[in-house]
């Protein structure tokens, strides 16, 4: 226990721990003096007391704690006679705490101030402002401009900088300098349907400065459920059923009946060797994401279907039958030169003249035979294309004789130009460079000259290579191969023309379309495979290329990732249990081809049975492969990048 005697006023000095200094002797474990340090930190114990003058005498004032008044008493000048060498007072604990505390705060402030000014606002400043490294992509694209790529610029204005603390800063605009979306970037899912009266900002989901490898795109399923009315606990248990034709939303661009090919054609002995080995022979699955683009015509179709293309010809002009010859023979001769018949007559006259002159006889020139009654070389009707172009009735000789012969005369004089004028005029734009691509004006003139002379055109050689050629009474075009641009252009031309029933040219339009688009003959055979579809505006067009599905823009899928799971241990991809058919089950009952007889692409039956959620949930379920929303769904609509990024990168490199 504490000895209470020791705390009496005459046996215990009063401790003052709140003072800044303490006795240096005590600090070195010696006996502390009575007085203790002076407030300024100097030793206050060099003398044992401070004598007091009483009357004319100095009296010792040493305290009882230190033995009371000393024997010697004060000196005559009032100084204490018990002097000691001074100690070095030490700071008290409280004082040390204060110094360290204030010092720590000051050091922090000093370091911040130093970092702000150290290298003129460079890396040091960034070190105390940046909340962390940017993700790799953002780090690259912001390297040139630094923080101001995204953040507001305050220059050197400290006041402006400070005031910015009280202003809201929406960085979405800066994000949109590089990122593009199919819809309004400030709406949920970039689409109006998701708008709930609240706009979004990029930083609501994408929090940067979390490190180079941070996943700033992650969203939890709970976050999806927050807005979506249909709450989904997990894909395998509560995801809505897939749509009836899933994943197809429209018919294919190219009519390829998987059912008939697989069940009939590929097993046909004639084509057995040409048949593909498995699905990947025609579909590049390994690197495919959602859409699996077919390998294309050359690799997938040409072997069986290649030979037929060059047999599908287009008759652009045909010389019809005329009742009378309305053409001016002299003009024709002037434009075309003499005909073979008149040339032979001239030769004959020359020979006779020479003989007569040599014999001294009178020269008698052979008179041209009197014109026989006109008999047209052609007994054909006009072709639908020229009938359409010239607005005449192909089987009404009276209506077309004059305009057609005038047209032939123009062809004689101007080559292919009148034909080009006509197609451009009907198309309302310059389509002739495509429609008449490769058509030689000289060929047209020669053909026209023959026709003007009421003769059949005799081609100098067989047309083995394809392209434009004249054949007796016709100007024809033979496609040079698949994807022939002229054939495509004529099909587009035919599709672009339409006429109402009461239109006087309606019959010609119908005849034109029948002639060009008929899958049974001519270049219309293209449409046997390439679907003719109507777009939203009602315009019809041929689908020349593979068309990835535009439906479900917020869904994603990787065929590449899944194909690696198949065909393990040498199982064929055609194996119904382990190959592609695991998911893509052929529907042999579907009226697949029937859908192509009409032009609504959304009225269709798929070649494949609709996929079911259960197929996916065989693997994607609790405890197996992950099944979170973001695995299959995207938040943004068609996210992309602005070309500015490339330009910016280029400028940086040049600089």
């Amino acid at each position: 226990m504490m000895d209470p005697e020791k705390f009496k006023h005459d046996s215990s000095r009063y401790e003052r721990p709140t003072q800044k200094f303490r006795c240096g002797r005590a600090a070195t474990w010696g006996k502390p003096c009575e007085s203790g340090p002076n407030p300024g930190g100097s030793c206050g114990g060099t003398s044992e007391c401070r004598p007091a003058k009483v009357g004319d005498r100095w009296e010792c004032r040493r305290s009882a704690i230190f033995g009371g008044p000393c024997q010697n008493g004060p000196d005559s000048d009032g100084a204490c006679s018990c002097q000691h060498p001074p100690c070095q007072p030490r700071r008290s604990l409280r004082s040390m705490r204060g110094i360290l505390t204030v010092g720590a705060f000051a050091v922090v402030v000093a370091i911040i101030a130093l970092m702000l000014t150290l290298d003129g606002g460079g890396n040091a400043r960034d070190a105390i402002i940046q909340a962390g490294e940017l993700t790799g992509g953002h780090e690259n694209f912001t390297a040139a401009k630094g923080c101001e790529s995204c953040h507001e610029v305050h220059d050197e204005d400290a006041g402006e900088w400070f005031l910015a603390a009280f202003r809201e800063d929406d960085m979405t605009e800066q994000c949109l300098a590089c990122h593009t979306f199919a819809g309004d970037p400030r709406l949920g899912h970039n689409a109006a349907f998701a708008a709930k009266g609240q706009t979004t900002e990029c930083v609501m989901c994408h929090t940067e400065h979390q490190g180079e490898d941070a996943d700033i795109r992650h969203m939890s399923d709970s976050q999806c459920n927050e807005c979506h009315k249909t709450k989904i606990d997990s894909f395998s248990t509560s995801h809505p059923k897939f749509s009836d034709a899933f994943p197809h939303d429209r018919r294919t661009a190219v009519q390829f009946d998987h059912a008939s090919h697989l069940s009939k054609h590929f097993s046909n002995q004639r084509y057995e060797e040409l048949a593909p080995e498995d699905c990947t022979s025609c579909h590049s699955v390994d690197t495919a994401e959602r859409a699996v683009e077919p390998t294309g015509y050359d690799e997938g179709c040409a072997e069986c279907h290649g030979a037929i293309i060059q047999k599908r010809e287009l008759v652009v002009l045909r010389l019809p039958e005329f009742e009378e010859d309305l053409l001016d023979g002299d003009s024709v001769t002037e434009a075309c030169g003499p005909t073979l018949e008149s040339w032979e007559l001239l030769q004959e006259n020359m020979a006779e003249m020479t003989e007569a002159i040599e014999a001294g006889d009178e020269v008698e020139l052979a008179e041209p035979e009197e014109e026989e009654e006109y008999e047209a070389v052609s007994l054909e009707e006009g072709d639908p294309i020229s009938a359409y172009l010239m607005g005449m009735t192909a089987d009404d000789m009276e209506s077309y004789s004059e305009p057609m012969q005038e047209f032939v005369m123009r062809l004689v004089e101007e080559g292919s130009a009148p034909l080009a004028e006509l197609v451009d005029e009907h198309a309302g734009e310059a389509v002739s460079p495509m429609l008449l691509s490769g058509l030689n004006a000289e060929l047209v003139k020669r053909v026209a000259c023959a026709w003007a002379a009421n003769l059949e055109y005799e081609a100098p050689a067989e047309n083995d290579l394809g392209g434009w050629y004249g054949d007796a009474l016709e100007l024809r075009y033979t496609p040079v191969g698949h994807n022939d641009s002229v054939a495509r252009a004529w099909i587009s031309f035919a599709l672009a023309n339409s006429a109402d029933e009461d239109d006087e040219n309606a019959d010609n339009v119908e005849a034109l379309q029948e002639a060009i688009l008929s899958p049974k003959e001519g270049v219309g055979a293209c449409t046997k495979c390439h679907a003719i579809s109507e777009d939203k505006d009602g315009a019809r067009h041929a689908e020349w290329r593979y068309r990835p599905s535009q439906a479900r823009p917020y869904s994603t899928y990787s065929h590449g990732a899944h194909i690696t799971l198949l065909n393990r241990e040498g199982v064929s991809l055609m194996d119904p249990e382990n190959g592609c058919l695991t998911c893509h089950k052929i529907n042999n009952e579907a009226a697949y081809q029937k859908a192509f007889a009409q032009s609504d692409p959304y009225h269709f039956q798929s070649n494949f049975l609709a996929m079911e959620r259960e197929t996916c949930s065989q693997c994607h379920s609790d405890g197996q492969v992950e099944e979170n929303c973001q695995l299959c769904h995207l938040y943004h609509a068609a996210p992309g990048f602005d070309y500015w990024m490339v330009e910016n990168a280029k400028t940086e490199i040049e600089d």
């Binding site: 720590a104 911040i112 400070f162 800063d169």
Partner: protein, 271 residues
């Protein structure tokens, strides 16, 4: 339940409720794609200022600002709550930015030093009571000096009375070291008994060389040494109870400094 337990129970309950509310708010805000960091950050900011005010309150002993014991309770519970709130606010144990890492590091050190101090304040007073002796910390040097003087006086008396210098030489060679200043600090700080053990050793060592009259002096010196051992325990325990603040307060001040800058930067660039 005693008033102190009631006080702490209520404060803990309030802290848990408050943290739960903020935790739920953070969760819901995250679901709604809203940013909860600002609210939790300002709560943390306010809490840190409130914790810092405890030190100011101690300096304003004259002001009627509720009893310091209440402030202490608030400081202890608030400090623990601040650590949890820090996790809620930061969303992780360790942030990614260099500056934020420095802030987190200093915050953790300040928190750890606070937790250490709290336990020291809870444990050491009991140990001091167990010594059955009281001494004011600031007076320990004087007490040691006095004990040392008494011990040396006993040795001198022994030499003069018995004419033997055995005890004097023993003192000079061993006990003088012991009496010179507090010994076995670390051992005493952690509740050890090394000082007394050393003393008993020295006592047994010299005791067999002394005659009866010398043993009387040895026993008196030993009593003084045992007294000094208790003072050593007081010194070690009270030092820890005071010195942890030498770490905690500067760290807390540094946290405040770093926190102010963090608040400014966040408001300038992230709001």
């Amino acid at each position: 339940m005693n008033p102190i337990a009631t006080r702490y129970t209520l404060l803990w309950a309030a802290a848990i409720v408050g943290l739960a509310v903020l935790g739920v708010y953070t969760y819901l805000a995250e679901l709604a794609l809203e940013r909860s960091e600002f609210l939790t950050g300002y709560f943390l900011f306010g809490l840190m200022l409130a914790l810092a005010l405890f030190n100011a309150r101690k300096k304003l002993a004259m002001a009627p600002l509720v009893r310091s014991a209440y402030w202490l309770a608030v400081h202890v519970v608030g400090g623990a709550a601040a650590v949890v709130l820090f996790f809620i606010h930061a969303g992780s144990v360790w942030p990614t930015g260099g500056y934020e890492q420095a802030l987190a590091l200093v915050f953790y050190l300040a928190s750890l030093s606070g937790i250490f101090g709290y336990f020291i304040q809870r444990i050491n007073p009991r140990r001091l009571v167990q010594t059955d002796f009281e001494v004011i910390f600031e007076r320990i040097p004087a007490e040691l000096a006095e004990i040392r003087e008494k011990a040396e006086a006993e040795i001198r008396a022994c030499t003069e009375e018995t004419g033997s210098d055995t005890l004097a030489r023993h003192y000079m060679e061993t006990l003088a070291w012991y009496f010179r200043r507090p010994r076995y600090f670390t051992n005493n700080a952690f509740g050890g008994d090394a000082g007394l053990h050393w003393l008993r050793n020295q006592y047994r060592t010299v005791n067999r060389y002394l005659n009866d009259s010398e043993r009387v002096y040895l026993n008196r010196v030993n009593e003084l040494a045992e007294m000094k051992a208790k003072i050593d325990i007081h010194y070690a325990c009270q030092s820890m109870m005071k010195n942890w603040l030498l770490v905690h307060l500067p760290l807390a001040a540094a946290v405040l400094g770093l926190m102010f800058w963090h608040v400014i930067v966040v408001n300038v660039y992230a709001l």
